[in-house]
């Protein structure tokens, strides 16, 4: 540690995370996002519809009209912003870390070095499974705020990524034995 000097390294010559070309998510994931929002919309619509059928009188016909228009507008806005935010999501894997960027209003970039990953998990939701998608989650020791979840990957791709990360963290897994990284290597097909 004492003979470790970093003076010679120019900050500007270091690899820049902000210049990495990010990959977008699979286009099918937009359907998943829209589906999740449409569930919400259906619930709201259903609620209003029940009220409309049971107690039509509490609002005048004009109010009902404007509620209908507002809901349609809301639906349009949600579709518009979902599409926009979908385009904003990007991820990249460098040789030493994973980068994930998202957010329309607040643009957030999370970077996790592979030598800090505790274990990797692969998730598949109901809709995602139907569309052949999966998400990969990287866990660190820094608590839930520093975990990274990359959704909307093709299952094959997600498995490849999981194996890649598992392999990257394997040397560390041997050092810190008994970490739950061990079972992950079982389904690696390399």
């Amino acid at each position: 540690m004492t003979n470790f000097t970093n003076e010679a390294i120019e900050i500007n010559e270091l690899p820049k995370f902000e210049e990495v070309q990010l990959r977008g998510l699979h286009s099918n994931y937009l359907k998943v996002m829209l589906f999740n929002f449409s569930l919400l919309i259906i619930l709201v619509l259903g609620g209003f519809a029940t009220v409309f059928v049971l107690k039509k009188d509490i609002f005048s016909i004009n109010v009902w009209g404007s509620i209908f228009v507002a809901l349609i507008l809301l639906l349009g806005l949600i579709v518009f912003f979902t599409k926009k935010s979908f385009k904003k999501i990007g991820y990249a894997f460098r040789s030493h870390d994973a980068i994930y960027k998202s957010g329309l209003i607040s643009e957030t970039t999370t970077i996790i070095p592979f030598n800090r990953v505790q274990h990797v998990a692969l998730h598949q939701g109901f809709i995602s499974r139907k569309l052949g998608l999966a998400s990969v989650e990287l866990f660190t020791a820094g608590g839930s705020s520093s975990d990274l979840k990359i959704p909307g990957l093709l299952l094959e791709e997600a498995q490849k990524i999981k194996n890649l990360v598992s392999q990257k963290i394997n040397p560390t897994a041997e050092r810190i034995e008994s970490e739950p990284t061990a079972p992950l290597s079982t389904d690696s097909n390399e």
Partner: protein, 501 residues
């Protein structure tokens, strides 16, 4: 006492442990049945004395029997073949807890009041990661506890002959720092005002509520108090009320600090740092410098004049989901020299403040808008519409608020700084209590940068560094500089050979 105690055979706790178990069970029962007990006490005149005391005797006998059985069935031993620490317990439901020795992270020896009275200690074992099972032995003699602790901690790394050596050394640890009563009094007078005030407030409201429930007529005649205060000039009565509140807060603060941290001693042994403190119940904690993730140093203006600081050491959390209280160790009231000595001990060198990063002035502007201008505007509209107070009063209150809030805002902006050197990241913030959070770059777990879309034009952004002991964030800084820092820290983390824990 044998220094080479045999733990391979299942053994019981020390015999006085029955008393501890009895006290614990009794306490639990009283806690569970206190409403009934309370009614009995209130209505003791009307009840048959024979049944009441007979019932109490029977209950105590049952509790005593349960305690004895609990003691009888509680055994612990170290399984040398599988390298596991095993606890077996339970009267009807048998429980067997096994802990792999290399998973043990921390072993602490504590003593509560009852345990002190009968001369036994409590040994608690903390394990790592997802394995949430935790074990404790609630009555064990101090000598045995020390040996067991060493065995449990060293087992995975050392063979037995070496253990014996370390035990001999452990038994004579060098006293390193001792926090005197004077420092504790200084800290007690100068910190935690808000916390103590909240405690007092809670205490009094609960007391008043309970008293009013008990008897319909209020015990303290509020009218009397108000009429007494009415007789005095307004300023005097305000002074009396304020003075008594401030006095009470100070006293509570002082008592709390002294009881909690009495005789605070830091000892250094070969393997770890040992902290001992407490007046009524003594706490004994092991601190492993490798596990330290973040250090927070807090000092306010008074404390600076008195030369006392508080240091909080955040260790890697054994339970990732919720950061436990015991992963945060507080060293109250050390002088500047002692602070440097502790930092030296934990980091092997003193953190330096090299390159300085400051927030953009817009941070002050935005905070001022939300915490100064907006509240004033809301109150203005409210007064304009409802006229609950006169304009004169509003101007008076608004001036006081603006002054207070403005000062806080200005100082919290002025103190908001980030210092970066090769080996340390120091973030300073706070208006009155000035905090310095220190993190070593190679202990970073993840980096998050964040920018709102309207901040793109002005090139402003924020950064959050996650460690296993908490996060550090710096907001509204120059985004280009932040991105450069991210690249530097990523480089440091990814090339670091050092184990972060």
């Amino acid at each position: 006492m044998s220094k080479f105690a045999d733990f391979s055979q299942p053994q019981r706790q020390s015999l006085p442990g029955i008393v501890v178990m009895f006290a614990n069970t009794l306490q639990k029962s009283v806690r569970a049945f206190w409403p009934i007990l309370l009614i009995w006490i209130v209505k003791i005149e009307t009840l048959n004395k024979f049944f009441v005391f007979g019932g109490i005797t029977v209950a105590i006998l049952i509790i005593a029997l349960i305690s004895y059985l609990q003691y009888y069935f509680f055994t612990f031993h170290i399984d040398d073949e599988s390298n596991e620490f095993v606890i077996q317990k339970g009267v009807l439901n048998k429980t067997r807890i096994t802990i792999q020795l290399h998973k043990i992270q921390q072993v602490s020896i504590n003593q509560s009041l009852i345990q002190r009275l009968v001369g036994v200690h409590k040994l608690e074992i903390d394990t790592a990661g997802s394995d949430k099972k935790e074990a404790s032995i609630s009555a064990i003699s101090h000598d045995l506890a020390t040996i067991l602790k060493e065995r449990l901690i060293n087992h995975s790394q050392l063979d037995r002959s070496e253990i014996a050596e370390t035990i001999l050394e452990e038994n004579t640890p060098t006293s390193f720092i001792k926090i005197g009563l004077l420092s504790l009094i200084k800290i007690g007078f100068t910190s935690n005002y808000v916390k103590s005030f909240a405690l007092l407030f809670l205490f009094f409201t609960t007391i008043m509520e309970n008293l009013q429930q008990f008897s319909q007529n209020e015990v303290i005649d509020e009218d009397k108090v108000t009429s007494y205060l009415d007789k005095l000039p307004i300023l005097t009565s305000i002074a009396i009320v304020l003075g008594s509140i401030v006095g009470l807060v100070l006293v509570v603060n002082l008592v709390r600090t002294v009881i909690k941290y009495f005789d605070f001693t830091i000892q250094k042994s070969k393997q770890a740092i040992i902290l001992t403190y407490g007046l009524i119940s003594t706490k004994n904690t092991l601190l492993n410098p490798n596990k330290v993730q973040k250090i927070k140093i807090t000092q306010n203006y008074f404390q600076k004049k008195f030369d006392v600081t508080t240091i909080e050491v955040h260790q890697a959390s054994s339970d990732v989901e919720k950061v436990k209280e015991k992963d945060k160790i507080e060293v109250p009231g050390c002088t500047a020299n002692e602070r440097d000595a502790i930092l030296n001990l934990l980091y092997k060198k003193l953190p330096t403040r090299e390159k300085l990063y400051l927030p953009n002035w817009r941070k002050l502007a935005i905070n001022s808008f939300f915490l100064l201008v907006l509240p004033l505007l809301i109150s203005l509209i409210l007064v304009f519409n409802t006229k609950i107070i006169t304009w004169k009063e509003w101007i008076l209150y608004a001036c006081v608020f603006a002054l207070f809030s403005g000062l806080l805002l200005w100082f919290s902006f002025k103190n908001y700084k980030l210092f970066v050197s090769n080996d340390f990241i120091i973030k300073q913030n706070g208006a009155w209590d000035i905090e310095n959070n220190i993190v070593e770059p190679y202990k970073i777990q993840a980096i998050t940068t964040q920018q709102f879309f309207w901040q793109k034009g002005t090139n402003i952004g924020s950064i959050t560094l996650s460690t296993a002991g908490g996060t550090i964030s710096f907001s509204t800084g120059n985004y280009t500089e932040i991105k450069n820092l991210v690249n530097l820290w990523l480089f440091q983390v990814e090339t670091s050979e050092e184990n972060w824990m």
